[in-house]
Structure formats: C-alpha cells, structure tokens
Symmetry: D2
Subunit: 295 residues, 4 copies
C-alpha cells in the first residue's frame, strides 16, 4: 500500500485537563518543525491561547485534513471516529486518558513516533462501524452511529425490558433483561467485555450481542457476521422507555413498540498506528495476562 | 445450486441401543422403496441381522456414496464428519441421541423428510473442520482432525498446565489453567459453551479459544478468524503430560515442550438439512430461550 | 413450636389483573367458611366491589392480623414484607405472577392448602431483611429496607460509578462499574443471580455483594456474614447521581460523596409455607435442573 | 484470649528449591536466638545438612509442638493442615511459593514478624476443614480430608460424569458435567474461584458447590451452611471412573454407584497471622482490585 503524505493535519483534543493541553502544545510545536498545515477543531482552539493556527468546524477538518490527530482517551477517539469516518480521513490517537485500546501513542513518544509516521512507518487499520436507525411504525425517528457499541438499556428504570431479537430476518429470541449490547470487534474489549462477552480480534468481521443480566440464565453472547442485519423490537407491553446509547456518548429514549435497526456503516474508520502496534501486547498489559514462559 | 441425485447411500448407525437399530430398519425399508443402492458400514451391518445390502469399509462408503446417513447422536455425526470429510460426500443425521445441533431429523419424520430431500428440498450446509498436528522438536508426532473442538486438558492430573498461545505467529499469552478449548463455530454450542464461550453462528468463519479454569481471572474467550494459525506450546517445566482430545473422541498424550498446531482443514464437511432447518429455533429449544412476544 | 391460630387475616392483592381478583374472591369465599375475621387493605378493597369486610390501612392490618395473605407475584410479597415485617405478623403468598420463589401456593390449591394451614400443617420460615441508610456528611438523608436486595446503579447515565466498599470497617476495594448489588440469601435467586451471583440457601445467614459490569474483570461476587456492616462511599469525583433501589421498588437518587450504609434489619419477616415446601424443588423447576437419575 | 508461649516449634519445609532452604536456615538461626526447642520434620531434616536439631515424624511434631511453621507455598500449608489439624497445634506459614492467601509472612520479614509473634502480637484464625468419606454400597472405602476443596472430576476421561447431589438429605439436582468442586470459605479463593465461584469471607461458616462445565447452563454455584451434609452419588450408568481429589493433593478413583459424603471435620486448623493481617488487602494485591479513591 502506497503511504500517504500528511500535509494537512486536523487536531482534536480533550481540553478538560492540563496534561492533555500540554500534549496538544507539544504536538503543535513538533508539527511546526515539519511545516505541515495545522487545523484545530473549534473547541480545541479555545484551549490554546494565543495560537495562530487555522481553526475549523468538524466539516472543514474532515474535508481538508490528510490526518486527524486526537489527543485524549479512547472516548475522545470514539467521538472523532463518529465525526470523521464519512470523510475517509485517517485518525491517530495520543493517549491522555486511561490505558486505551485505541489511542496508542504515549505523550512522551510524540516526537519519536510522529517522525516515524511521517517517514511512512505506520500501520493503517480499518475498523468497521455501526449505523443505528430507530423506527416507529416504520418511520425513521433517530439515526446515529458507533465504533464500539450500541446499547439498549433500561435507563433509570429498574424494571426489565422485554424485547425481540431478529438477525438477518430470522427470529432469535425474546428476552427480559436489563438490555442488550451490540458491539463491534473493536468494542468487544470495552463495555461488552465487562458484561461477559468474548474478545474478538479486530481483524475479524464480526459483531457480538451480549445480553445484560438476562432473566433467562441460558442467554449467552452470540457472535455473528459483521454484515448482519440486527433488529431489536421493544415489546409493546413494556411500561418503561428504554434508552439507546452509541459508544456511551449519544443517547436516545425509545418507546415500547419501536424497532432498533443496526447494521454496518458504509464507511470504515481508518486508524493509524505506529509500526510496533501489537494487539495482543495491549491485551496483556491491560488484562494482566502472562508473558512468555522462561523469562 | 443444482441439487444432486442421491443414488448410492451409505449408512452408519449407533448399534448400542434398540431405538437406533429400529430407526436403521425403518430407514432401509424406506430407501428400498426408492430403489437406491444401500451400503452399510461394517459395524452397522452387524446390527441388521439377515439383511442383503452391500457392506463396505469407511473408504468404500466414502468413495461410492452420494450421501451418508448417520443414525445416532451428535457424537455419531462428529465421528462420521472426521471419517468422510475428505470424500466430499454430504452427511445427514437422524437423531437417536439427546436433542442435538447436528442431527436434525427426528426418527418419526424419516419417511416424510427423506421424501422431500429426494425431491431436492434440502439445504446444504458447509462447515469447516480443524486439523491438529502435534510436534516434538519440529517433528510431527500425531495428526488428527475435529469438527467441534480440539481440547488441551490436564488429563488425570490435578495440576494446572502452563502453556503459551500464539496466533498467526503473534504471542498472545502464557497461561496456567486446566487447559484450552479451541472450538469451531460448529463446536461453539458444545463443550465450549459449558466452559463460558459465546455462541458463534455457523455461517461465521471463526474460531473461539476458551480457557479452562484459568488461574488468571482476566483470561477470557477470544474469537479469531477461522483461518488463523493456532500454536499452543506446552511449557517445558510442566511435570504433567497433558492430553489433546479431538471432538472428545480421539486422544493423544503430549509431553512438556510439545507444540500443538491447529488450523483449518482443507476439506469442509457438507451437512444436509431439511428445508425447514432453523439454527436459532434449535438454540431456543435446547436453551429454553423465549419465543415471540404476544404469543 | 406451638402453631398459632389464624383468626384475623389481612389480605393484600394485586388488583391490576382479572386472575388475581378472581383468586382474591376465591380466597375470601373460602375464609368465610372458616369464620375468621377478614381485613382488606385499602387498595385491595377497591377491587372487591360490594364486599362487606373490614378495611384497614397497612398499620391496622399489621397490628390486628395474625396472618397476612398476599395474592400476587414475588414483587407483591416483597412489598408486603417491607410493610409488615415490623409487626411480626406472618405472611403467606398465593402466586398470581410468574413462577416465584416466595409465593408458593398456586391459585387452584387455595382451598386444599389453606385447610392444611388452618390445621397447623405449615412451615414458618424466617428471613432476614436489610436496612439501607443513606448519609450525607454523616447526616441521614434517606432510610429504606429490602428483603431481596439493595442496588446501587448508575440510573439513566451510561457512565460508570466510582465507589469504595467497606465491610465491617475494613476497606475492601474501590471500583468503577455500573453499580453493586447487595443481596440477602433470599434475594440471591433474584436480580443477583442474573448478575452472576451464587445461589445462597435461605437458611444461611449471609449476604452477597455482586459487582455490576465491573471495569476490573477480577471483581467477583463476595459472600459475607449476614450481620456484616456494609458501607458504600460514592466517590466525590463522580459526575453522575447514582440511584439506590430497594427490591427494585423504592428508589432514591444519591449524590457524589454520599455513603450508603447497609445492615441487617432488627425484624425478620416470617413466611408461611405449605408443609411440602421444598427449596431445591423450586430451584429445579425454575432453573430446569436435572431430576433424579434412573427416572 | 490468653496468648500461648511457643516453646516447642515444629518446622516443615519445601526442600525442592534453594530459596525455601535458605529461608529454613534463616528461620532456625533466628529461633536459636530465642532458645526454643526446634523439631524438624523428617524430610525437612534431610535438607539441612549438619544440623543438630531434634527430628520427628508428623505424629511427634503434632504432639510435641506448640507451633508448626511451614516454609513453602499455600500447597505446603494445605498439606500441613491435613496432617496436624487433629493435634490442635497452630500453624504459621512463611511464603516461598507464589503470592498466597495462607502463607502470609514474606521471607525477608522472618525476624521482625517472629519477634512480634513471640511477644504475643498475632491473630489466631480458626478455619474449618472437610472430611470426605467414599462409600460403596454403604461400606466406607476411603477417607480423606481437605482445607480448601474436595473435587469430583472425570479424571483422564473426556466424558461427562452424571451424578446426583443431596444436601442435608434433600435432593438438589442431577447433573452431567466435568465434575463438582466442594470448597470451604478458605478454598473459595483457590480452584473454586477459577471455576466461577464467589469469594467467601473466611469468617463465614459456609461451603460453596461449584459445578464444572455443566451441560445445563443454569447450574450455578450454591452456597450453603458450613455444617451441611453433602452427598454426591455417582450415577450407576456412568462408564467412567471419576477421581476425587482433596486439596489437589490426595486422590482416589471412585466407581459408578459410589457415594461421596462430605461434612465438616471435628477439628479446625488454627492459623497464626501477624497482627497486620488483612484479608481484603491480600485480595486486592492478588486480584488487582482498586485501592482507596483520591490516593
């Protein structure tokens, strides 16, 4: 694969902590030495007092940039993925949150790793995303997207939700539970993992459906093809109004009888990783797995 | 897909219970009316006293038959899959065990369902299998295959096994546990499910690796591409001789330092199902999942 | 134990479905033949048009009755337990909900089982309950009680709660999760079971603390003495206002920094069961466990 | 409680690694300065070349000693508990294995912690043990005991075992699985935890029964009173000979039809801990649980 030149670099950062802002400054200083065009997102620009860079809306960043750099945690990167996937611009994360699966450059590696990346020493990692359409009597009433997961949950109610699950037009089951997590392979190491789901290697084109505290103890995580058509029908007899959350960041309150339609988004998000990126090494560190024997 | 004519039908049956033998008789009587050529496996022939059918070795059955019919439980079908996959002959199961995922014709449906199948009303369902090669200092010392799962377990010892897992040449983790289950999507509803693995739809080309009672509580089932190259290295410092079991039916005792190499078998097994076959319906029945709401 | 005579019988019923009201009528007709004094709860009285029975508040029912009969599901009985435990009056449940652990008389058994109970053929089963006190800077701000469980959960937020757990004055852990279930042995077969908790025999004086989707995968259910002093401190840095729910029926919204103090309630609830009551038999029926071998 | 003087100290050590032997030497040197009588177990004596201490059988150690010191891992202490519980002699562990729940003095703390212990600054922690009696047609055929757990498992077979479970004379269920773990509260953090059981605080007088890979997915860990009478009947129709293991250290091969009777042993084991001993702190370290917030 012919590596791209990165000339126009959009920057999106967490601005709610000093460390992230320091990393933003370090990043822009470094990029200045590379004579690239920097475009700050509007909120990011507010945190960099006295800067002279171009500032743009998400639309402008998406259309102009060859690369979007996110300074923050996995949450920041999830937000960027949902905003910029449609522009096909690659995204790279500098980690300023907890140890993450998505943002894999440490703040003290900025200069070194970016030098390599500018030399073309990087991995491009395409991850599929999900589109979520909520329908009421066949009329679309809400659209959203997710890189990690779409979660149907009971919201502030403590009553169980009753719903039907259909996959590719086939009825799977009806269930009474706290909800259902529909996670991509990318999201399998996030919320779905806490809920008892398996780890799905990101190269596998698959979804996992993880029931949340199901009343029937035999309900188990189900892994299906990533291109599956998922349809969740909220039972008309529920007396609660469940919530649908995308990546834990955007929320919608649905009604009994609504249908949640989930399928793969046409556009993938392109993540840029340093060449050394090693998925299982991240798993070992985050999950405390054992290292090689005899060492 | 142009449906095949079934003219030469190989029959393999459990002969350890009367019900299975009765179903064998019913099947041969029915097939007689269809003027097909029946070939009995050698052990099956012993149970049908006074018959006049052709009798053949597995090799003969595999080479001559257009269809192999298995009368028994899922276990019988697993054995047939391992024996006949290399001949590309389709296999159909008549259930004479517990409710199964693989043998989906009930004994009292033989005439009706077979009539439909002879009319071409059937589904051909290709399932991949796994090859297991055990190596000692790079020399192959044992070869076997499995449709459901390959299980590394501690055998009669009560000590944990220590081993390394590598996938596609990448080191994943070292682990101390009772063992590891490597299951196909087909096997995901068998032993791997009892061990906490997810259900994988058989259409998904994926494997699941399920740790057995891992000492590290963060070890979780991992789902990877079905074409992955799995390598399990038994730590040289183990003082136990673990066992490797294929489909719970063939066994081998390995030594510390041995490597277990698992990858997809070139040949798939072709299962024949009645047209009405519904994977999720079998799940609902076997696992007691909820049926449609408002019914 | 000298069995009591039941002369004054309080009746509490679900009045939101016709079947429950029919059972209420059948019950009162039967009790009329026994010449006992019937006292209806106020809401129950509304459903029995034209009756001539005494009607009373919960306070009156609690003080006068020798026995409270609940017609409804486990939920109705939980409510009655919280209302009447302080009066030391025994409670008996007629099941008009889903198959329950607490209400064990079927509607068609009313006459027969009550006859036995009036003859003294019954089991008195004492179950402890929990008191929940929420404190803000040491001031009590809310009091409630539960027979099944007290649940700290994130309410409608999708952010994790961060909290500390202390048991008997000892620090246990801090945790980021969706919440924590503190269940009695009685409640161990309810919500806590869906969340992965163990089944605790009701005769064991024990509590179980079940983390809800903990971020740290090594957080596991903990079983402690039923008289333990449980203290959950909601981290001051949370930006969500978590909810505390008792038996899923009463709710309170807490603030960051609040402390939830949970300990055994002084009064136990006394459940009356038919003589044949068999805890494990209910488990087998509800959970589909295997029956005796060779049968 | 009046603290005992420790004048006669029995020593039992792992002799299969140099570190353990070094700790043995350090311990005996320290004890020499305290003018106590040292009695080495026979195998331990072999590892201390040239020593002049008294050497004794387990019987002598048990009868003479005021304190048994175990140098090794949790496994060594389990063995000592089974050997010495009947002599009512307290046991203290110096950890020379992996981080353990039972051996809580680190090798570099020997002098300091023992000084404190000799001054009476210690905690005496009584843990109950289990007796295991295997019966064939009512005749006892094997007796053993355990501090952690008694495990029925399939041994080297890969077939499931079918058995019935009875508790206090009540039938609980029949199950097809790889086996059943019966663990004390002490053992709840050992093998039973890997198998999905809850953590039971050692002060709680309780047992947990954890099914191993049960075929029925609704089989769950059950927690019962520590004085319960457990009876496991191995189904007569099994064609395997399952193993019963106590603390993973003593083993017996049972036959179809045999009954395994498990109940609390009359004698408790008395563990001696340094005053600072903190159960939850050990859990946090071993399981990576979160420390106090704001720290």
């Amino acid at each position: 694969m012919q590596k791209k030149k990165f000339k126009h670099i959009g920057i999106v950062g967490r601005i709610d902590n000093v460390q992230a802002i320091n990393s933003l400054k370090q990043l822009t200083h470094f990029l200045d030495t590379k004579h690239v065009n920097i475009i700050l997102s509007e909120t990011t620009a507010n945190a960099l007092i006295g800067h002279t860079y171009q500032v743009g809306s998400d639309k402008i960043l998406g259309e102009i940039s060859d690369l979007i750099v996110v300074v923050g945690g996995d949450g920041s990167l999830l937000g960027a993925a949902r905003s910029f996937a449609k522009y096909s611009v690659p995204i790279l994360g500098i980690n300023r949150g907890r140890l993450g699966f998505l943002t894999d450059i440490a703040p003290d590696e900025i200069d070194c790793k970016f030098n390599n990346i500018f030399h073309g020493d990087y991995i491009e990692d395409h991850r599929f995303m999900l589109a979520c359409d909520i329908k009421r009597e066949r009329d679309p009433i809400n659209k959203s997207s997710a890189l990690n997961d779409i979660v149907l949950h009971r919201g502030k109610s403590t009553r169980m939700i009753e719903f039907e699950l259909h996959i590719d037009g086939q009825f799977v089951y009806s269930q009474r539970s706290d909800g259902l997590i529909v996670a991509t392979s990318t999201g399998s190491t996030a919320y779905a993992l806490s809920a008892g789901g398996p780890i799905i290697h990101p190269k596998l084109d698959a979804l996992v459906l993880v029931p949340m505290f199901p009343h029937t103890l035999t309900s188990r995580p189900i892994v299906v093809d990533g291109s599956s058509d998922i349809r969740i029908v909220i039972g008309v007899d529920n007396d609660i109004y469940p919530r649908i959350s995308c990546d834990g960041q955007t929320h919608y309150t649905a009604s009994p009888g609504d249908t949640i339609c989930i399928k793969k988004l046409a556009n993938k998000v392109k993540l840029i990783h340093p060449k050394e990126h090693d998925y299982y090494e991240i798993c070992r560190r985050k999950l405390g797995w054992g290292s090689k024997l005899g060492q």
